[in-house]
């Protein structure tokens, strides 16, 4: 089916497709394959982007416009960026491409049982997950996009984000070929978070890999990620799945959506909810179990953004909205905790001689 060349459900994406769907969508696909509930959605492939450029006669036009630019001439770059982005944003998405996207969007709305389902539209560049190469496009994200027209409009905006002045000069500085960097767009159901936050599959404070640490607040995860509130914190033993520590904090603000306008807004937490636990015990454990699954999937400690939704269960009411490798502890080279010795007796002797520091 030709459609699959241009539009792919996340379920059908995997890591071999980074060139077609970008890192973000590929990893969402991988997560679904590992039975990790990410909000459902689909990817507009790089082929769709290429097709769009070709159909609008932009393929060479864009490259030519970039030719001869000097990295130092900021004004020139700004002007080129402005022109190219205007061309892309004014381009026409052909009927068949539009049909494919609309059909996928309709199916997604149906799964979620919400007409004109609010979605997040994000750029998913083909090279952005390479270390030190988040150059490809600005990390464009449009939230609460509703309806096909709006969606198509945002897709064009994501595409054009490949040509922000910053992205252009970054590629020039790094000597990346503009023609080799492509962009895919992810379209994903918005999660109306009841509570949300981050989860580390190790204790970021101590590096203990047997501890899962969950930070949580009401509403969207933004308040936690940005550090605007002191979130609730839960520790879970990864092996026994016991909740070993619960710190319920005074949560002053949270983010939610205005039901009328779908606009995200920051609110003060009602007094009676400020000091209540934002995740139920069983949710803490379920989330930690997901954390273990994700860590197993990637084979390394992970830093995960999650959300709970209480309105429309798709796969349960827990969603993983983002996961990336933990970097602080994991980047340390693994070396033995104690110097290897020939026998238990030698360990004991070494331990005795070392003693215990007590102050």
């Amino acid at each position: 089916m030709e459609m699959l060349k241009y539009v792919l459900r996340f379920e059908d994406c995997d890591l071999t497709m980074v060139n077609r769907v970008g890192g973000k969508c590929a990893s969402l696909g991988e997560l679904l394959k590992a039975d990790i509930p990410v909000p459902p959605g689909f990817a507009i492939t790089t082929d769709a982007y290429k097709l769009f450029l070709a159909e609008n006669g932009l393929t060479d036009k864009v490259l030519n416009r970039l030719k001869g630019l000097d990295e130092a001439m900021v004004d020139d770059i700004n002007r080129a960026s402005e022109e190219i982005r205007a061309w892309i944003e004014a381009g026409t998405i052909s009927e068949r491409l539009e049909d494919y996207v609309a059909e996928r969007y309709r199916l997604l709305s149906r799964i979620a049982r919400t007409p004109a389902l609010p979605v997040a539209v994000r750029s998913s560049a083909t090279a952005e997950d390479l270390p030190d190469a988040s150059f490809a496009g600005q990390q464009e994200t449009y939230l609460w996009v509703r309806g096909v027209d709006d969606l198509l409009d945002r897709i064009r905006k994501c595409w054009s984000s490949l040509f922000t002045p910053r992205a252009i000069s970054y590629r020039m500085r790094r000597k990346f070929d503009h023609s080799q960097v492509l962009i895919s767009v992810g379209v994903q159901k918005m999660v109306k978070s009841f509570a949300a936050g981050v989860m580390f599959t190790l204790n970021p404070a101590t590096g203990d890999r047997a501890t899962i640490v969950i930070d949580s607040n009401w509403g969207y995860g933004e308040s936690v990620v940005s550090g605007e509130v002191t979130p609730d914190q839960f520790h879970v033993n990864k092996i026994t799945m016991e909740v070993t520590k619960k710190t319920v904090s005074d949560k002053t603000i949270y983010y939610t959506t205005d039901p009328e306008t779908d606009q995200v807004m920051k609110l003060e937490v009602d007094p009676e909810r400020r000091l209540s636990q934002s995740l139920l015990d069983r949710e803490i454990v379920a989330l930690a179990e997901l954390g273990v699954k994700i860590e197993k999937h990637y084979g390394k400690p992970m830093d995960i953004e999650w959300a709970t939704e209480k309105s429309l269960p798709y796969k349960g009411d827990l969603y993983i909205v983002q996961s990336r490798p933990e970097t602080v502890w994991s980047s340390k080279k693994a070396k033995p905790v104690v110097a290897p010795k020939a026998s238990a007796l030698e360990y004991i002797v070494a331990g005795l001689v070392e003693g215990k520091k007590i102050r």
Binding site: K238, E242, P336, V337, P340, A344, K356
Partner: protein
């Protein structure tokens, strides 16, 4: 560490009305300033209160076990195995409370030589652990038999003719002195054996703990203990015997008796039927040794055994009979305990980052598991079986002192030092031999009255957690594992002191077994009180021992004054999935029956809710 200042041992207060208390205890246990060198030594050391063993002030007789381990533990470190950086543990007493301090090897240049010696000597024990342990068990059974067989003779008006016709050549007066010496000697010997393996056992365990805490900074010690602890250990035997007796009573159809009435009546009822007799046979088989289990730690003379009060175990049998009849299982969940242990071990092992660490983990875990059965089982042999019989033999001596009015009551003997008892016995036998009156009746009853009043004042006094100067490091394995002296625990001690100053709404102890519950407090000072326990209550006890096991069938959580992560309450609660906070120091005196509390077994905190 912030401000870790503890008072000077020489400035510790004397309680008015107890002046002269020092004569109740060995003279070398006193902090003194008379000699500048000794004064300086005492000031430079870190003396911490051994609340783990002694939640209440020392009785002049009961200090025997403190002296016994003072000698035994220290000699194994310093003179027998040559623990490289550690000498023995020094002891002092103040206002009846024992303070101890580990001595490091002063000259670091000696350590390499000591390492060599230790490797050879301790290495021999680690290598031959199982054989030596089997030999140890034989030695222990031997001295327990000697103790049980030891007769404390009463003094006759006239010696039997056989003394003459067999040419015996000695009198009962001599035998009494001799039997008393033998009794004390067996006690000291028993404690020599007690430490034969314990230092090395704790060392193997503590450095496995150390490794795990380095690899997993958040790991609770209770999880490490769970990986190491045995499933089939002696500690569970007494309770298992009760369960067997309950099943047998039902099988034989003799379960419809008054289990909670007078034990003598119950025994008589059982005698009345063939099946009852069969049950009695099983009971008698179980009594020796399993009913010698102490209802306390065994460290105090008032920790009586089941054999001393059959009513206790018999009323426990009823708990099991009732459960069985209600169709409930009374078996230990050993399969799930084993599964949990395997899961923990495999889980933590798999999270290690390098092959080297996995190898270290395997070696250390292997040696910890080798030594742990001893660490767990020796308690039954020494503190329970031996001690329970020992206290009764001392009571036999006391009966003679009562007969000659040297003391008013058998239970007064504990207010005498063992050397004073020996003196009194000399007084007594010479008077007996002479036909005169001993001086004892003029001296001891008065002295004992005064000592009782001192002890009462000691009890009202709160001993400081520590005195003297805080060292940089501690290498002595017991100090670390048993008393948990670490920077955290010292900070905790400081925190506790803060807490006790204000209104008490929180009590802190060691996290013994994870989980959080709310429940009503039931303070049970002795095992006899556990009959009052209602289902779902929080048991608050000075300590628990295997003889308390049936209580755990009813409770929602356990809190103890005394004990660390390896104490009975912690181990049993982990097995039954109940929260436990142990080693609180003072929960039995600060919590009241009926109070609502929240017990957090993961953090070691108890919140008083109302």
């Amino acid at each position: 560490m912030a401000d870790l200042k503890f008072p000077s041992p020489h400035k510790a207060e004397t309680i008015p009305g107890t002046e002269g208390w020092e004569r109740m205890y060995p003279y070398h246990y006193m902090f003194t300033t008379e000699n500048p060198d000794r004064k300086k030594y005492e000031e430079s050391m870190f003396w911490f209160y051994d609340g783990l063993h002694y939640p209440e002030p020392m009785y002049p007789f009961d200090i025997i076990w403190d002296e016994a381990w003072f000698l035994a533990l220290s000699q194994y470190n310093s003179r027998i195995f040559i623990v490289p950086p550690a000498l023995g543990i020094d002891h002092r007493i103040h206002n009846g409370y024992i303070y101890i301090t580990p001595l490091p090897v002063a000259n670091p240049e000696e350590i390499p030589k000591r390492v060599e010696l230790f490797m050879k000597r301790a290495g021999y024990y680690y290598e031959n652990w199982k054989d030596l342990e089997a030999k140890w068990e034989q030695k222990m059974r031997g001295i327990i038999k000697e103790l049980a067989d030891l007769q404390i003779p009463t003094l006759p008006d006239m010696e039997d003719e056989s003394v003459v016709f067999d040419g015996v050549g000695v009198s009962t007066g001599y035998h009494l002195l001799n039997a008393y010496d033998k009794l004390i000697d067996l006690g000291i010997l028993c404690w020599q054996y007690h430490f034969e393996f314990l230092n090395l056992g704790y060392a193997a365990y503590v450095f496995f703990v150390d490794f795990c805490s380095k690899a997993f900074p958040d790991i609770p010690v209770q999880k490490i203990t769970q990986m190491v602890a045995g499933i089939d250990v002696i500690m569970y035997k007494p309770d298992e015997e009760l369960k067997k007796l309950a099943k047998l009573a039902i099988d034989l159809g003799v379960d419809n008796v008054d289990w909670e009435g007078n034990p003598a009546d119950l025994l008589k009822t059982m005698e009345g039927s063939a099946n009852g007799k069969k049950w009695l046979e099983a009971l008698n088989a179980a009594r020796d040794p399993w009913f010698w289990v102490s209802t306390g730690t065994g460290w105090y003379h008032h920790d009586r055994s089941w054999n001393d009060d059959l009513g206790v175990p018999l009323s426990f049998v009823k708990i099991y009979v009732d459960k069985l009849k209600a169709g409930e299982s009374i078996d230990r969940p050993t399969a799930s305990v084993q599964a949990e242990r395997d899961k923990l071990t495999a889980g933590y092992r798999s999270l290690l980052q390098t092959d080297e660490d996995r190898e270290t983990f395997d070696k250390m875990l292997g040696s910890a598991r080798t030594v742990f059965p001893y660490v767990e089982n020796h308690l039954f042999y020494v503190e329970h079986w031996f001690h329970s019989i020992f206290w009764n033999k001392v009571r036999d001596v006391a009966k003679i002192l009562v007969e000659y009015k040297f003391i008013n009551d058998v239970e007064d003997i504990w207010y005498l030092k063992r050397s004073e008892i020996k003196d009194a016995l000399w007084d007594l036998v010479t008077a007996w031999a002479t036909g005169s009156n001993g001086r004892g009746p003029l001296v001891w009853p008065k002295e004992i009255e005064w000592r009782k009043s001192c002890m009462e004042k000691f009890r009202q006094w709160t001993p400081p957690d520590a005195m003297g100067a805080v060292p940089e490091t501690i290498s002595e394995p017991f100090t670390i594992v048993l008393w948990g002296v670490t920077s955290e625990s010292m900070a905790n001690w400081a925190k506790l002191r803060e807490v006790t100053k204000g209104e008490v709404s929180k009590i802190v102890g060691f996290p013994g077994s994870p989980g959080t519950v709310e429940g009503k407090v039931r303070v049970c000072r002795t095992v006899g009180d556990i009959g009052q326990l209602q289902k779902g209550e929080v048991l608050v006890a000075p300590t628990t021992s295997p003889s308390w096991a049936p209580a755990f069938q009813k409770i929602a959580a356990a809190v103890t004054d005394v004990g660390g992560v390896m104490c009975h309450a912690a181990i049993v609660c982990r097995e039954y999935g109940l929260p436990a906070v142990v080693g609180t120091g003072s929960a039995t005196s600060r919590l009241k029956t009926g109070q609502l509390v929240r017990v957090n077994g993961a953090s070691g905190e108890i919140d008083i809710l109302g």
